[in-house]
């Protein structure tokens, strides 16, 4: 088994920046990502995109090439297409690549596994034709494809970004059904002063709004009682806005109300997480460098708390510097000196965050869905069933397993974990921290016996 000073999981902005920085300071570094190419979510397939595509996706997207270029020339073992399914103390990392499982060892680990879109359980959200807005954007970045006759539903910057990109490719959405209201914006404007320091985000936001406006896309705000209608496929989005019930026929509904940290790997290692009331999610407990409650385990980027791509890149660099110092490759005073400007840059990157978080809050009815709504997509468990478990004495997500199968399907609670915690906390009158989250055990992703069988023969051959 090959062993590295540092293994970085995730080749988005945080992971790429960290791997390059650590290698520059003389550490041996492995970078693993399940995608075939570097970039993470924001810069997905940035090296492959044609000029026509990059024009649509904009400069914020092509910035990723500076990171992929630096990665190519750095001395980093970039193991692409590697699905990490177990990390054991010590550390030993098991992953599958090309149908065979392998292992590597690492003294330190940096998790840069990014974010997931916040689950948006509403009636009909499991119908084919309903996707996340991020999925729509992945189709565009990765495959140059876009759904026609789509309605965008929810709130947040990513929804506007996708709408503007769809306008640019000439396949505009049929409508934008927005869940945030004017009063959210008024509350948020209390944070406007701070946000002005993050003016880049605000001006970008205004630019997107004016593109959507110019394209005359119908917009509805403060939408409630949202449901996707259809028998075997999504056929319409129904909702109430300004006191009127509206039904918009469509072929695709793209849902989005923010992103939340992907905490699966960190939880499997027992890293402590705390409820973040402003971002309505759990985030790992970290120091300013990204060190977690587990020794030698660091976390950076959106998997550490949502801050966006630039903040992720900086956080990756900071964590790598600290790791280099702990490995004796960087003196303490040099660490502080190199880190100081990065810390300042991160602060201004994060300045617009409180404004964004309060102006585009999650869609409340999806945080505590109505009884009939399916909340665990894999096992088709409804919100009402979780509430019933609570009346039978169920206090935490791990106990739900004694009552039914929520969280036990293939997605392992990625898309129901937060909802189950919220429902139980609400029903039992406890806080999310008291209620807790699913315990996550390996394998983080399903592994087949065939893949394991191939392990013995492959584990020493970590191809580049």
């Amino acid at each position: 088994m090959r062993t590295f000073d540092l293994a970085v999981i995730g080749a988005g902005p945080a992971g790429m920046a960290a791997a390059v920085t650590a290698a520059k300071h003389g550490l041996t570094v492995a970078l693993l990502d399940e995608q075939q190419r570097p970039g993470g979510q924001i810069y997905r397939d940035v090296d492959k995109a044609s000029p026509e595509r990059t024009e649509v996706l904009g400069r914020d997207y092509t910035h990723g090439r500076s990171l992929t270029t630096a990665l190519r020339s750095a001395s980093v073992d970039h193991i692409q297409g590697a699905v990490v399914w177990a990390i054991e103390d010590g550390f030993r990392i098991s992953f599958t690549r090309d149908g065979a499982a392998s292992q590597i060892g690492a003294e330190k680990i940096l998790l840069a596994t990014g974010a997931l879109e916040r689950p948006m359980p509403i009636p009909g959200w499991t119908l084919p034709g309903v996707m996340t807005a991020g999925a729509g954007q992945i189709l565009l970045k990765q495959s140059g494809m876009i759904p026609e006759k789509a309605v965008l539903v929810g709130s947040g910057p990513l929804l506007y970004l996708l709408a503007a990109q769809m306008v640019r490719v000439g396949v505009p959405p049929l409508a934008l059904v927005e869940t945030q209201s004017w009063s959210d914006f008024k509350t948020a404007s209390r944070n406007l002063f701070g946000a002005l320091r993050g003016w880049r985000y605000l001006s970008k936001g205004l630019g997107l709004h004016s593109e959507i406006l110019k394209a005359r896309i119908p917009r509805y705000t403060g939408a409630t009682d949202i449901a996707i209608e259809g028998t075997t496929n999504a056929e319409a989005v129904a909702f109430t806005a300004q006191g009127k019930r509206i039904t918009l026929p469509c072929e695709t509904a793209l849902l989005h109300h923010g992103v939340v940290p992907n905490t699966q790997a960190a939880r499997s290692l027992g890293a402590r997480h705390l409820w973040d009331a402003r971002q309505h999610c759990f985030s790992p407990e970290l120091d300013g460098w990204g060190a977690s409650s587990v020794q030698n385990l660091f976390i950076a980027g959106d998997s550490a708390g949502i801050g966006g791509a630039k903040a992720a890149e900086i956080a990756g660099q900071l964590a790598a510097l600290k790791i280099a110092a702990e490995c004796g490759k960087l003196a303490q005073d040099e660490l502080e000196r190199t880190a100081a400007p990065l810390k300042r840059a991160r602060e201004s990157e994060l300045a617009a965050r409180p404004f964004i978080d309060t102006a585009y809050p999650p869609y409340r009815p999806s945080l505590l869905p109505a009884d009939e709504t399916i909340i665990c997509r894999c096992e088709e468990v409804t919100a009402g069933e979780i509430r019933r478990y609570a009346t039978l004495g169920c206090l935490g997500p791990n106990q739900t397993k004694a009552f039914g199968r929520p969280g036990m399907g293939p997605c392992q609670g990625r898309y129901c974990g937060l909802t189950v915690t919220a429902l139980l906390a609400d029903a039992n009158g406890t806080t999310p921290d008291e209620t807790g989250h699913y315990r996550i055990r390996p394998p983080l992703k399903p592994v087949t016996l065939g893949e394991l069988a191939a392990m013995g023969t492959q584990s020493d051959k970590v191809a580049k």
């Binding site: 034709g129 309903v130 495959s143 494809m145 894999c378 293939p410 898309y415 592994v447």
Partner: protein
């Protein structure tokens, strides 16, 4: 659900034969398998083992497992694969097929 590709470059790549539930489709080699199947008009990828409800890709990033299909007897996420010649894809069958083998 209809997926279109507004970029000319997407049409240049070589198309290869792929079978889905016994039907042959010609899909652009090297593109994301889930995206290519959607654009070929396949709207249902699997049925849930609980109620048999129809499902299709939801996240496109390997997290939701709604795009599970069976290829050569192994259940895999179509959104994490690329189109290659001769893929023989089936609707996954039964509960075991969507649980981890481990």
């Amino acid at each position: 659900m209809k997926i279109v590709s507004p970029f000319p470059d997407a049409n240049f790549s070589e198309h290869v034969a792929v079978s889905f539930d016994g039907q042959t489709h010609f899909l652009p080699k090297g593109t994301n398998l889930a995206a290519a199947l959607l654009s070929a008009g396949i709207t249902v990828f699997r049925n849930t083992p609980v109620s048999g409800a129809a499902r299709a890709p939801y996240c496109m990033m390997g997290a939701c497992f709604e795009c599970l299909v069976e290829i050569d007897g192994v259940v895999r996420q179509a959104c994490m694969m690329e189109v290659s010649e001769g893929l023989d894809i089936q609707h996954p069958q039964g509960r075991n097929s969507d649980d981890a083998d481990l």
